[in-house]
């Protein structure tokens, strides 16, 4: 089954070094993705350990998070 977009790579591109969740959602919706798709994509990315929330509540890429730790 094909994942609904946005895909992990698009999310990671937008996050950069870390982005607040509402900015991330707005950014993805600005790419014409419906909000429900965006939320689903974020849950998937968390479950696949592509993204997480750091202690400040910013969305960060897990790879960068692990390096910083």
């Amino acid at each position: 089954m094909v994942d609904v977009p946005p895909q992990d790579a698009e999310i990671l591109n937008l996050i950069g070094a870390g982005l607040s969740p509402d900015e991330l959602i707005r950014g993805l919706m600005a790419m014409q993705y419906p909000e429900t798709n965006v939320i689903e994509a974020l849950q998937r990315a968390i479950e696949r350990e592509k993204i997480t929330l750091n202690s400040e509540g910013l969305v960060v890429a897990v790879s960068q998070f692990a390096e910083a730790a």
Binding site: S20, D22, I25, I39, I46, E47, T52, G57, V59, A69
Partner: protein, 453 residues
Amino acid sequence: MNGAVKASQDAVRVNRCYTDVEDSVVDQRHPFERDRDRILYSSAFHRLAGITQIVRAGELDVFHTRQQHTYKVAQIGRRLAELRIREQKDAALMHGLHPEVVEAACLAHDLGHPPFGHAAEGELDLIVCDPTICGGTAEDAAEDGYEGNAQTFRILTKLAVRMHKDAPGLDLTRATLAATLKYPWLRDKSHPKRTSKWSAYATEEREFLWARELGHGDFKTAEAELMDWADDIAYSVHDLEDFHRVGIIPWRDIISEKAQESLVRGVIDVWQKDPSMPADARARMIAALDRIRRKLIIFPAVTDEMYSGSREQRRQLRNFTSILIGNFVRAIKLTNAIDQRSVTIEQKAEDEVRLLKYFARQYVIGLPALHAQQYGQKRIIRDLFSIFLIEGKAGNLKLFPTRLRYIWEDNESAKPARLAADCVASLTENEAYRLHHRLTGTESGLVLDPIVR
């Protein structure tokens, strides 16, 4: 630390009070593994399945019992220890950190909770200090009252039954006993820090001093610190989950700017009772609330929907709590000194845990039905204490469930109020309700049913 000193400390840590068979030919376990297993198999641990966490055990299957909470604390505690050992090998070695000790301390940490939770704890403290309230005399009093942590230590060192009565308690190692001491002091009502929380009664002072031989000042051991933080994490996340599932947590209020002032004021009102509350507490709580709100944004099924148990709600709740717990587990580090606090915890994590604990408590404690329940439960506690006290002093042990008689038979030198409290604290909530009915004549039950086994 040189090798000889380390070896000597390790030897002291595995000492027991009553037995010294460490190289057993029949038991393959390490001493700390045996400690953990003894606690798990104790009847005091079994009792926790019938004890309230925040809501009465068995009221709704969705709520954690104290035993379920304890299993989760033990899981978190063990993972905390394992992570510290992986990431801070030298500091872990210096502190003697052992995951079995942390897990054992976590399994033990709530053994001393009486039936009906904190409501009963407060009531027992009052009447143990002043038994005249319940038909006793001033001479019956135990001046240091009742406290769940101190009762835990008393269970581990005196009340738990494992061997002959000259070797009471579970005969745990020094390290494990020290790890259970969240507040490593006896009660001292003249000392602000030692008035409301303490981890040993005067009756266990000898055992306490023995357990604390490697301790420094008022500092918990590293293992006790990890146990304490594991408990905080579990309480703040899992209890909140329970109340979220029954719709008690008003997430719309929590995430709204309008409710910020009342929420922050509520947390500060509770925090103010702690003499160490910092001057910037308010600013810290506002910042913590901002961070929690930010973390909730990508979980709208948690904040925007009444919980119905749908797959998506459960999924998002799991993702949210998993992230929270991961952040909190990474927030604690070992220090490199043994004569000061053995850990540091990121202030932001501590602040968020404080706030989450407040949510779980605040919205439940406000429920009118809970107040009514607690009113009745306090009456049960008083009635049972009074009966145990008066009849125990009179030697009328035939009235007592067989399982509780040894408390009076084996501890003749303890104050009667202490022994009466021991009996109450040994009951599950179901046992307390049914025994109360029987002893007050409201519902006798079946003559073949001892109620307390």
